[in-house]
Amino acid sequence: MATRTRNKSRRAGYTTTGQVRPFDVRQHLSRQLHAPAVNSLVQLLQQQSADSHDHGLIEEVLASCASALGKLKFKPQDPQAFLASVHLAAGCVPPDSPLAASVQQTVARIESYVSTDPVATDDPLFNSLVDGCIRSPEFSDRLPEEIADEAATVRDALRLIEAGADDAAAKAVAGIGFRSPLAPWRMLIRGMVAYYGGTIDQAIEAWQRLPADRVPRGIAQAILATQNRRLGDDPIPDKRRLGSLVDHKQPNEREIVDKLSNSFNNDELDSVAEQLSSMSQWKSVDQNWLSAVRDRLYAELLICADVPLVRRVCRMMKPPRWDLKCDLPVAIAKMLSIKDPVHGDVSSDIDKYLATLEKNTELSDVERRAIRGAVLLRLAMLLRQPLELLYGKQGITPEATVELDRVGKSFGHRLVVTIRECVSLWPNWDRPMGLLASGLDFAYFTTEIVIDIHEQRLAARGDEIKVLKPAADFFYFAKRYDRAKQLSEKLLAIAPRDEAVRSLAWAVDLQQMREALIGGNVELAQQIIERMALLKPAKLHSGILLLLQALPLIASDKSQEAQQRVQAAIDCGLSPLAALMLMEIYIAKAKLPAKIKKIFADQRKLRMKSPSISDVMTTIELCSQAALDVNNDYPGRVGHLKDLITCSKRVLTSANRNNWTIELANILGEFVVRASDGTLRRRYLQLLRRHYDWHIVILVSAIEQGPYAARELYRVVHAESNDPYGLPTSLKALAASMFEETQSLGMFGYDDDDEFDDEDDDGFGWYEEDPTPGPKMEELDPEHLEILTLTMPADIMALFLTDPKQVEKKIRELMPPHVANIVIKALHQKSEGVDHDSIK
């Protein structure tokens, strides 16, 4: 019992004897218990003799009470009793005490605060009372009635806002006048409505006008602090001052976005899924945005070859409504990682998804058809990539070559079949056709299916140039000249002045003229040549027509007259070297007598001994395309290519640097890029490295550097279209494909984060004669430097010799395993046969 009593006394703050100690008084103060503090002070003073009174304690207690009353932190329940205690305590301070004056002033303040008289509007207490009675309505009895009513309205409006009824809140405070002491509260509420409506800037604009000494400004500061934002020049309140609002503090948006962005950019798709999963629990996240990012994650999965990762992510993410079991990403990952696209299992997995899609009743008919089309496009894009990588690659062994060809064909077959279905589904959709349009080797396709695709499009949209032109081009390249002719005539009827259409029609006629000559129909050949005169592309030299006119003469054994036509062509300004080589090409392709061709060849070889720059450049311009075209071989093509290279070397050695105009240097640069001759490339760079069309120089040097040229190629590929030093159009595609190749090889690839600036031009200094390596060279390790000095062809080999593991890893990432195995095997075999010393 005694123990219980003692504990009770301690809780009450007194000793077991009932005596009050100064400590007890201070404890009440620290707990903001002002009335008990005054009462216990009075008790303490009564216990003590007058000479032992602690005047400092009396002053401390009364000052604390005055301050709390002034801040409306408490209101005595019995004001009279409280004032009596205050006077009693103050009376214990004798008038001669140094604290007497201060105590009397404090007592006067307490009296004014405790008073029940209305407060005047000019009283410093007035605004505090107005603000305080929003939180504590009990203080409103000293305010005029209309102000007390407005305070009650503000209180209600704040509750409405908390409940989400923003409009009602705004309406409620609309009646508060601008001159009312509650006007800042009205402004606060209007800002809060804007803030919760998502227009924070508008809210800040309103809140900035709040007076600095009023509570609404403090509230505005606190609200903005939860968003880590400040109000005007006010500092962001410290976390400790936010009290329970700390729990509502928003996470940093920038940090969230950066984290997600890093995960996306580093292909950490499981991390993205994890972040999205936790964000989906947040009420403050926009669900539309979340759904869009989830869709993006799904799209990223559709290019991922890591089956376990795809399965893991699928388990974590909410599946989209068009793939409720996330079947498609897994099927595609299998296709990319396990087997080839025509393998039964993979095909059936993708087909199974497409079958499920057809049964998905959550989607409309249009949606199902559109999704099917988009999925097929996705598939086609994935199928095209290995074909691009395979393009131009040859295995070392015949077996490897056969296997590469087989794999290419299997991808190509599935690609064209997929595109055919896209076209059947959406005849007006042009995007899938873009995948067939350029850069692919037709050897990988079954021509009949591509013809079928074009015919389907022609049947649906046969009057559109954008359907007719690609179809006519394809038929021409597929050597279906009759169909190409029909289409080119249709095109000519629609767009007779279109230069591309005229060029195609010219090319088709040229081919048909050759066929007529091969078939011995000289008359038809002559008729075609007459028609060609009307179609001659504007840029083509008029002498070319004279050369063509010589061909039927040769076929009719009128070689003398044919020679005259050739001479006439030369007389009208066509370069003699070019005219003679062109005649050789025309004769060879039209299968005319070889002895006539030899006559022209002999004449040409005489002229080759000391050619002029312009003569050689015209010949390159007119003949290099035929000489470089392996797919349209003709007798003497290799000899022509060699002769063009030889002539080019001669002019590079003998001609003065000042004789080279930009145009001439560009013509030669283009040939140098395509001719794959190391000596020619070096001579070009040696003589023309200061040629001020940097882009073509960069392109030529990029071939020397192989995969290390990513940065330079980036600049070339992404040059502005109006850049005066831009690449010729004909080389843009080549530069783009070279850049893509450097990217696919991975190392030293261009990194978007590492933007170039003008100072990067200094890195080009290593092309100068000065042997001191530039900054670019310094960033490579010695092994890479060594590789850079080798005159290796620009292919994956150089990189493989440097870092086989890295290259192997990259190849395995990019290619299906069986393709990767073949390529890696070929690289190993080639690397074993490389004599490093001889390369040096």
Binding site: I134, V215, W289, E367, I371, V375, L425
Partner: protein
């Protein structure tokens, strides 16, 4: 009929046209014609090209799905992430009043 959708990415072409995901093909065409009148190619070729591209994508459902399923067409993920925004949470009135009073009181003391 335009497929209804809850995803922002599909709405982008429509947003360029000033429409939302519920718009019908007729509405899309009407809006497109209105914008073309407003921004003819000879006066504002860039804006016209933007409107034209948005119209072609918005009026073709398969293009819109291709935008969703093919990252190459959708392009960089950054613009999508940059649109991230946390909606402000409703804050408890009592805590706000208390905190507001404390902040003003501490400001007064500091000054």
């Amino acid at each position: 009929m335009i497929p209804s959708n809850d995803s922002i990415s599909y709405q982008e072409p429509l947003a360029v046209l000033g429409l939302d995901a519920t718009s019908t093909n007729e509405q899309i065409r009407a809006k497109y014609l209105e914008l073309v009148k407003q921004y003819p190619p000879e006066r504002d070729p860039d804006r016209f090209a933007e409107i034209r591209a948005a119209y072609e994508m918005a009026s073709n459902p398969v293009e819109r799905w291709a935008l969703c399923l093919c990252v190459e067409i959708a392009g960089d993920v950054e613009p999508l992430l940059a649109r991230f925004h946390l909606r402000p949470q409703r804050l408890p009135t009592e805590a706000l009043l208390k905190c507001g009073e404390q902040l003003i009181s501490s400001n007064k003391n500091a000054s």
